[in-house]
Amino acid sequence: MKLDEIQKRLLREIADLHAVPEGAYNIRSNSQMAGRRSTANIEITSKTDVSGMDIRIAPFTKNESVHIPVVLTQTGLKEVVYNDFFVGDGADVLIVAGCGIDNCGNQDAEHDGIHRFYVGKNAHVKYVEKHYGSGEGKGKRILNPGTEVYQDEGSTVEMEMVQIKGVDDTVRTTTAELKAGAKLLVRERLMTHGEQRAISTYVVNLNGAGATADVVSRSVARDDSYQKFDAKIVGNAPCSGHAECDSIIMDRGRILAVPGLEANDLDAALVHEAAIGKIAGEQLVKLMTLGLTEAEAEEQIINGFLQ
């Protein structure tokens, strides 16, 4: 696998990868396949009609992982990629995705990854997606991830979405359809700087009895950045759903939180919480009395908040 130092650094940031990962993987670099491995239980094949892959995980596959990181280092590159995951009944797997862009040029670099998950009965998926941008060029680093989740009965999907640094523009769209007894847990962590803009929209449909969803977003908007968090949970059956948006604003940062609930069944129990505010002065003071400077205290508070 041939990767330069910048590409290797991006891989470390988004997937904690220091070497070739264990298990199945596909590494995409500047729209080319830089490496791929299928395993006995996990088969990765390229799509023929559009750019992207099909990832098929055999039923009852246990404790295996799939890494599918993407790195972009070429200015002006724009790509749309479709990846479909077919997770067999009873499988239990870790999927690590993520995209790192290093844009040193003056043209925008953009990666739009559309991920669809078809999760079988009683399967368990942990999905980790990290986004990272770097590079001094004037060209923007743009990431527009679309995630669609279709969960069969009794399945569980845990999603961890992280975007902490360097992505100029993001529109994230996540939709989920849950059958009876299915469970969706989303933990989103987001920090925006400078003039960055991030929009995150969730629509979760709880269609079967006993389906549950818990969507929690923690975010920090610094400098002149802007964020919009729009989470809608729809209860179409006896189910329970919880959406939470907890945000810190700094400098001239702005955040719009639009939590939404829709109950179409008498036994749908839905809750939302949203809070936006600056760092509490007394939190800074407490850490300063422990010997930290104001800047160090701020960093500790934000690191903890986004952990």
Binding site: T289, L290, G291, L292, G304, Q307
Partner: protein, 249 residues
């Protein structure tokens, strides 16, 4: 150790200024436990905040270990050796008890090391070390963690603002032992406690009574305590000792 020289503190209120602290001079000698007491609203907590650097005096000087720290920041004072336990501890989303104790210790403390401080305040360390310092903790638990962070500082001067508030479920004797332990382990350290509690007054070397922003009485415990107990002004104090003191100014 610490000297306040003619310290005053005013806040803007309506059209004029309100004087909270009026020309207070006091001395906390090395190796002494000094308790500041007095009625609610008398300015005791403000005095503690002035010492920690959270408020700046409008007049007067504060001298710590021979150095004028009046214009020093909170951070500077902490690094010079002043620790401060809040009356109402602060909650943090995402920061764990272990993180907070490590920050307080100012070094890479092992989990076992941090546990010692929690055990000292009567918390089963294993149950708390990975807890977030957030609203899932009760007021009493937070208060004890707050005291543990001050223990971890190992500071020359530790200031406690009403440490007994909210720890009723924990044996009071343990709190007294915490102070005794601090005096044993940190050489030449001094402790300044703001309290209404008779049992804390009982372990003081010196007592300072603050009323209406001024020092009303100041001296050795043997001298001051009988006066406090014997006067009519002590009646309200005793009531507070038996019940609960309210939030202080």
């Amino acid at each position: 150790m610490l000297e306040l020289k003619d310290v005053s503190f005013q806040v803007a209120e309506g059209s004029g200024d309100k004087e909270i602290i009026r020309g207070v001079s006091l001395l906390v000698p090395e190796n002494k436990l000094v308790v500041i007491t007095g009625p609610n609203g008398g300015g005791k907590s403000t005095l503690a905040r002035l010492i920690a650097g959270i408020e700046k005096p409008t007049e007067g000087r504060i001298i710590f270990k021979g150095e004028d720290i009046t214009d020093r920041s909170i951070t500077d004072r902490a690094r010079l050796g002043i620790a401060y336990a809040f009356q109402q501890p602060v909650r943090f989303k995402g920061i764990k008890v272990l993180d907070l104790i490590r920050i307080a210790a100012g070094k890479r403390l092992s989990a076992a090391g941090a546990c010692e401080y929690l055990s000292a305040v009567g918390l089963c360390a294993r149950d708390y070390i990975d807890r977030e310092v957030n609203s899932s903790l009760s007021g009493g638990e937070l208060k004890r963690i707050e005291i543990a962070t001050v223990l971890a500082r190992g500071a020359a001067l530790s200031v406690f603002d009403e440490p007994e508030a909210g720890i009723d479920l924990w044996s009071f004797q343990n709190l007294i032992e915490v102070f005794a332990h601090m005096r044993r382990t940190v050489q030449n350290s001094s402790i300044l406690i703001i309290s209404h509690q008779e049992r804390i007054l009982n372990i003081a070397d010196e007592i300072v009574m603050i009323k209406d922003g001024k020092v009303e009485k100041q001296g050795a415990r043997e001298e001051i305590l009988p006066q406090l107990m014997g006067t009519s002004s002590a009646v309200s104090e005793c009531r507070m000792i038996l019940g609960k003191g309210g939030a202080d100014a």
